[in-house]
Amino acid sequence: MDFRDTPEEAAFRAELRSWLQENASHREVEAGRGDFDALRAWGGRLYSAGYVGLTWPEGFGGRGLSPTYQAIYLEESARADAPGHPGVIGLNMAGPTIIAWGTDEQKQRYLKLLLSGEEIWCQGFSEPGSGSDLAAGRTSAVLDGDHWVVNGQKVWSSYAHKADWCILVVRTDPDAPKHAGLSYLIVDMHAPGVTVRPLHQITGDPEFNEIFFDDVRVPRDSMLGRPGDGWKVAMTTLLHERGTLGFALSAELERMVNHLVELVRRPGPDGRRPADDPLIRDAVAREWIEMQSLRFTNYRALTTLLETGIPGPEGSGVKLAWSEANQRLTSLAQSVFGLHAQVTGDDAPWNGFWQYWQLRSRGNTIEAGTSEILRNIIAERVLGLPKGR
């Protein structure tokens, strides 16, 4: 057991840290509402500097490093308050799925542009009627010559309004049992018949979208796996979504805890330092402890992964615990401002930062697996309890 970086890891961390110091602008504090073009440019700079695809095979534009380096990247990026890469869906979901299931042609076509941020990806999994129940999806794809003709509607798709490509779960065999009738397509978001409608969140921002497919023609070979493999391929995607999520979350929590400490140490609007209130002190300390616990839980899961090749179950609760910590933390921050916390626009305290993130945090227990579904998964797959529902 050694909680320190190896010399190689330490060198990587030091180099990255100074690179970030020189190159990274601070994340948009006002509301995480960054300018997308600036973000895309930032993704390109990250890629040129070699910080994207750290763990990907070198043949696909990656650096073939151990996931520890990805963890270090996420930690340092959060500590520097640097913006994220805009291609998260591509990097965490589409890319790994293409690596696992794609043909050589597909890998050549998509992976490099995905890493560089030149092409942005979105996902089309959820539907209005299905929610957490992926296998209940009804968007259809019917073979017509060399094309699949897609019709239907997807929802909760981040980045769809900016995306070039969509990983899409469709029903290709309406007669097969629920899971068996699904297939997995790569769809050009610029193709005729694709319409994106932004869904505004309770923050007011259009982060998610609905995507409508109206006789969209998709080349027959734009499929990952074979017809009927859709469920299995989608599970790969979700595994990677959750697998790489842990460090991003604990790093994000570290960033928020740092901001929280900064907040409570500053005198408030009434001249008093919130940090002098023992109730606030206790709550802040609690979140700092929570953050450390998640950080090291990620590292423990990573150690298991490196040793056994399988992600450890230790990490299965990180997203669950993180989402609740982030909700508590942002609500605590808002409580410090009294009624001023409710003022929006130019007069919002902290430029609206806490207000935005407090509201945004309510989505944390819903997106990427609701907390209810995650608790089911832990109970059934980790603890071996009988399937309930």
Partner: protein, 344 residues
């Protein structure tokens, strides 16, 4: 003992509920909240017609209206006028309110100093002219008259004599304003111990009112959650069969009932000027504010993604709940005062 509202009050409740539901369905509420002012300018005269602004209403009558204006937010400075300002008004002004000719609010908070309702104010009056800066004035850009706390007592200032800067707000139907008084003509309302005592009563009343609104908010959130849980299907069953959903709804129900009990107790104490009024109002505000937030958060969670959208009405209630919970400081501030009664 009798813990029920009178038959007349229950009639008032039914009437209010119907009136508000008809006038402010979820779509209309959203339109007003997102409009330029956040105020339904035409409704005030109607309120007067219906007698909601009569000075003769007891606080228990008002309690019924406050609960219902939490259940269906009323886009007008009713809370500000009838709860915060009214107790300080002279009879003539109160009459104007009753006739629907005047709206008012209370301006107490100032920048850079503690902002509680009972904290000392820095605004001053000299030769009948008031000078000072107030912030976070509820409905500050929507009223005709300010009741202003000063180092010398409470004063009334016409809005036309003040420099008002409206602000945006999460809850679009209850926006704050900053108000600057530069030697504005001011009429004295109360001074010395009378002013302090009056402000104490206003705070109690405001806490009770906040609790009542919070109860209405929590009830609506629960109703939305229950309706959705019966209707929405996942994995082939209505989601209400899953304990992860149904037990959340039960917990919200229990807390709501507790909040309601405290809110009614507080309201009765205010109406009767009961010796326990202070503690009851602190308790009700602390508990009900948090209960409303809890109810909305659980309702959002139970709705999944759809409850997290701007289009769904839930976030309107959530933001109102947050306003209520934050009013005059978070629940821990009220609990600290309760603690002083118990332990010091």
């Amino acid at each position: 003992m009798d813990f029920a509202f009178s038959e007349e009050q229950e009639q008032l409740r039914g009437f209010a509920r119907d009136f508000l539901a008809e006038r402010y369905d979820d779509v209309r509420l959203a339109q007003i909240a997102d409009s330029e002012t956040g105020v339904d300018a035409e409704v005030w005269a109607k309120l007067a017609e219906m007698g909601w602004l009569d000075a003769e209403l007891t606080f228990l009558d008002q309690a019924v209206l406050l609960e219902e204006t939490g259940y269906r937010p009323l886009a007008a400075p009713y809370f500000s006028t009838a709860v915060l300002a009214a107790p300080a008004l002279d009879d003539e002004t109160a009459k104007q309110v009753g006739e629907g000719r005047l709206t008012a609010t209370l301006a107490w908070a100032e920048p850079g100093v503690p902002q509680g309702l009972l904290d000392a104010a820095g605004a001053t009056v000299s030769g009948g002219r008031l000078t000072g800066e107030k912030v976070l004035v509820p409905d500050g850009a929507a009223v005709d008259l300010f009741v202003v706390t000063t180092a010398d007592g409470l004063y009334a200032v016409d809005a036309s004599d003040a420099a008002v800067t409206p602000h945006g707000a999460l809850d679009g139907t209850r926006r704050p304003a900053s108000v600057r008084f530069d030697g504005a003509p001011a009429r004295p309302l109360a001074s010395g111990d009378t002013a302090a005592e009056l402000l104490g009563r206003i705070r109690d009343r405001a806490y009770a009112a906040v609790a009542l609104e919070a109860v209405g908010v929590a009830q609506r959130a629960l109703d939305l959650l229950v309706a959705y849980a019966k209707d929405r299907k996942q994995f082939g069953k209505p989601i209400g069969v899953y304990q992860a959903v149904s037990h959340k709804a039960s917990d919200v129900y229990v807390r709501l009932q507790e909040a309601r009990s405290l809110a009614y107790w507080a309201a009765w104490c205010v109406a009767e000027n009961d010796p326990m009024a202070r503690q009851a109002c602190l308790a009700a505000k602390a508990f009900a504010g948090e209960a409303a937030v809890f109810a909305c958060e659980n309702a959002i969670q139970g709705h999944g993604g759809i409850g997290f959208t701007w289009e769904h009405v839930l976030h309107r209630y959530y933001k109102r709940a947050q306003w209520l919970a934050a009013f005059d400081g978070p629940a821990r501030a009220q609990r600290a005062e309760v603690a002083a009664f118990l332990m010091d």
